[in-house]
Amino acid sequence: MSGRASTTALCLRWQRIGLLAGAIAVFVPALLAFQGARDVVGTVGARTSAAILDVTAAQDALARADVAAVASFAGGGVELAGPGQDHQAQIAVASQDLARAAGEQVTGDEGSRALQLVGGLLVEYTGLIEHADAELAQHHDLLGVADLWSATRLLHQDEGILAKLDQLRAAQQDALHRQLSTGWLDRAAALWWALPGLALLALLVVTQAFLRRRFGRAVNPALLLATALVVALLGVASLTLVVRSRLDATSATVASVVLARQTRTSTVDATGRWRLAQLLSPQCAAGCGEVVTAFVRDNSGGPARQVEPSQNTTETQEVAMSLTAAGRNTNLEFLIYAASGAVALLVLVGMQPRFDEYRHRAR
């Protein structure tokens, strides 16, 4: 056996091993990245964005419930109407939203504790509204207004229900940001499949050149097809980057929905404060301390305001559509299996005739 012949055999063997190893080196990270992206889409859709929307919807419902109660008590007929049907409906909506947020468990123990605290405060809030109802029905107007004032403070004060939900929502948005920027959705993680992919392509080109030089064949069709499939494989893997971009868009949609709801809740809230200031003002003509005085002064201006209707359903659909778009093509995982398998098979099929030819020459 000549030295050139043995070098050729060794090169063929190493090239085949290198190509097969390269196929595996692309397949594994590409598959993991693809599955990771798909899982994040599922998690964001089923839990994170859902929890954020649930918490903001609960805030909106609670602000509306408060306004409805104040409006009902201010409107007279409290003996029959109580805090009103709308108040009760909104409290029910808020309770359901919070129960769903608790089930979604996005922020771990901290989130569970926050929701536990909000649940306790909500019980106290509804208790105060019930007291206000009972006192006003017995024409104990000052007591009733005092209960309403306490209920409103419980909802709005610095450590109140809405502030606690704000903190929880911020933690949920942080969790969403982490989900999109870490693990396989981190853009730098694409290097795990892109670099082996490029190396595999280079090796395929080198192998084609080697076969042409040593065996005089213009092109190895199987390796050419394998090259095309590697390109296709990288294209499928790069869908993870597309998913990441789409999830960024979803995240932006969620943020804009949160902002819209906060603005709307703030408007609803201003309406409630205006109505409560109308109730407090005659009771505090002789002064009720700096806090009440400032509240009445800051919220008495302007005419009566109307509560904007909720747009929660439309906004939730908007986020759902964005999530559907983000998840599009995440069912193409089979292409990674198929392309990787085919590349390996084509490497074997494409190089085997050259092994046979080499053995024939050697004899």
């Binding site: 605290l117 405060l121 000052l142 419980l154 002789a286 002064g287 806090v291």
Partner: protein, 441 residues
């Protein structure tokens, strides 16, 4: 393999096994572990208590998993129901401490806190920390005195009143001398319950107070009724000429004292616990700047029917640490909290307005004479009684709060309110477990 090589291999394996065992063992003993703590403190209080916990970690290496929640009672009850209580909880109500002790959910500290450490607390605190049992269950972390009347020394120059009649006559020439705020969401009304408790304690004496606080005296008892009526007379003046300040229902308890410092003043006196110092010092936008202890406000002790106010019992509240899990780390923390070192940390933080009941925490820790005076009340040998509403079952306590608001709204409803309170006592309190001792000393 030769027998020699076999022996060498076996020796090597044994050495490796021993080294691994030693390493693992060392890991086990080197890690001091973690203790979980539940408390209701947030904001500045949380930051202050964190300094206590940081010192504990520095001394022992034990890490603290701190959870602060305003809904402490609900969170603790829920954790206990789930079978996952914190190692240590800071209970703001001795009633809860007593409940958990009676239900054997709280662990006695007799073999945790040494008698040497316990002796730092006055004998009255020994009684209170035993919550009516033979065993020690709580370590007081900080405490407040409630039997205090605050005033501006520049405006009220007469000597402190020595009895209730003199207190009643004290008005500073104002139409409404008392700074009064009942709003304390979500427990509005408690500032009024402090009034009733203090008056009953000083008017009827500790024995009656103890009976009433522990549910063994009817609300319709004449002595209880007299306490309410005395409060009404204090507010409306001896001749009843002043209107009841009904706007107090909407005034925040921390906001009420502000008008004591305005020019002209809106009120001259405030019945409030020692914790109100933090509110006073936080007032902004006043003509003389933020009130300063000693210069802008002082206190005198709530007087009784007769005798020197200094000899009268004082109503107090306290945050008590209780141990729910018997772990070395929990024991270590409880022991640390009872030490002089730990007791000095919180009161020594500027602006904390926290007070220790340890007699070994000297006056040098407190920065002004007002604070030193409060610390003296807490650590002297005089009798102290826990806030009665803190000892009552939740249903009774909440009804008491509501009754105070109802009375201020319309004092003529007093008998109806007392009848309703009595019905609740008969239903809720009579069937409950024995309550903690209300007074000690």
């Amino acid at each position: 393999m030769t027998p020699r090589r076999t022996r060498q291999a076996a020796g090597l394996l044994l050495a490796l096994a021993l080294a691994a065992d030693a390493a693992l063992g060392a890991c086990g003993s080197a890690s001091p572990g973690t203790v979980s703590v539940l408390a209701s403190w947030s904001g500045a209080e949380r930051a202050a208590f964190q300094q206590v916990l940081d010192r504990f970690t520095a001394r022992t290496g034990i890490q603290v998993d701190f959870q602060g929640t305003r809904a402490l009672s609900q969170v603790l009850a829920s954790d206990i129901d789930k079978g996952d209580p914190p190692d240590v909880a800071m209970l703001p109500s001795p009633g809860e401490l007593s409940d958990y002790a009676q239900r054997r959910l709280l662990l006695p500290l007799d073999d945790v806190i040494s008698p040497d450490q316990e002796v730092a607390y006055g004998p009255q605190w020994h009684t209170l920390a035993r919550v009516g049992t033979e065993h020690l269950y709580g370590v007081p972390v900080k405490a407040d005195v409630k039997s205090l009347v605050w005033y501006d020394p520049a405006r009220l120059t007469s000597p402190p009143p020595q009895n209730l009649d003199l207190l009643m006559a004290l008005g500073g020439g104002l139409a409404s001398p008392w700074c009064l705020g009942m709003e304390a969401t979500p427990t509005s009304g408690w500032p009024g319950t402090d009034w009733i408790e203090d008056i009953l304690l000083h008017q009827a004496g500790p024995a009656v107070y103890q009976q009433w606080a522990t549910g063994r005296l009817a609300w319709t008892d004449q002595r209880v009724r007299d306490a309410w009526l005395t409060w009404g007379r204090l507010l409306t003046g001896p001749d009843g000429a002043r209107p009841v300040p009904r706007s107090a229902l909407l005034t925040g308890f921390g906001d009420a004292g502000r008008s004591m410092f305005t020019d002209p003043p809106g009120c001259a006196l405030e019945h409030q616990g020692s914790f109100i110092m933090a509110s006073y010092q936080g007032y902004r936008g006043l003509p003389g700047g933020a009130p300063v202890p000693g210069r802008d406000f002082r206190f005198f002790r709530f007087p009784g029917l007769s005798g020197r106010p200094e000899d009268q019992p004082s109503e107090v509240s306290a945050d008590l640490a209780g141990m729910f899990r018997d772990t070395p780390q929990a024991r270590s923390l409880m022991r640390f909290l009872s030490t002089d070192e730990a007791q000095r940390i919180w009161p020594g933080i500027p602006g904390s307005n926290a007070f220790s009941v340890s007699r070994n925490v000297g006056g040098e820790v407190y920065r002004d004479d007002v604070s030193k005076g409060i610390a003296t009340i807490l650590t002297s040998a005089g009798m102290v009684c826990f806030d009665a509403s803190d000892l009552m079952p939740a249903a009774m306590r909440n009804a008491f709060y509501r009754a105070v608001l109802g009375y201020l709204d319309d004092p003529a409803r007093l008998d109806t309110l007392l009848d309703q309170l009595e019905k609740i006592r008969a239903g809720a309190q009579a069937d409950s477990t024995p309550r903690a001792a209300a007074c000690g000393g």
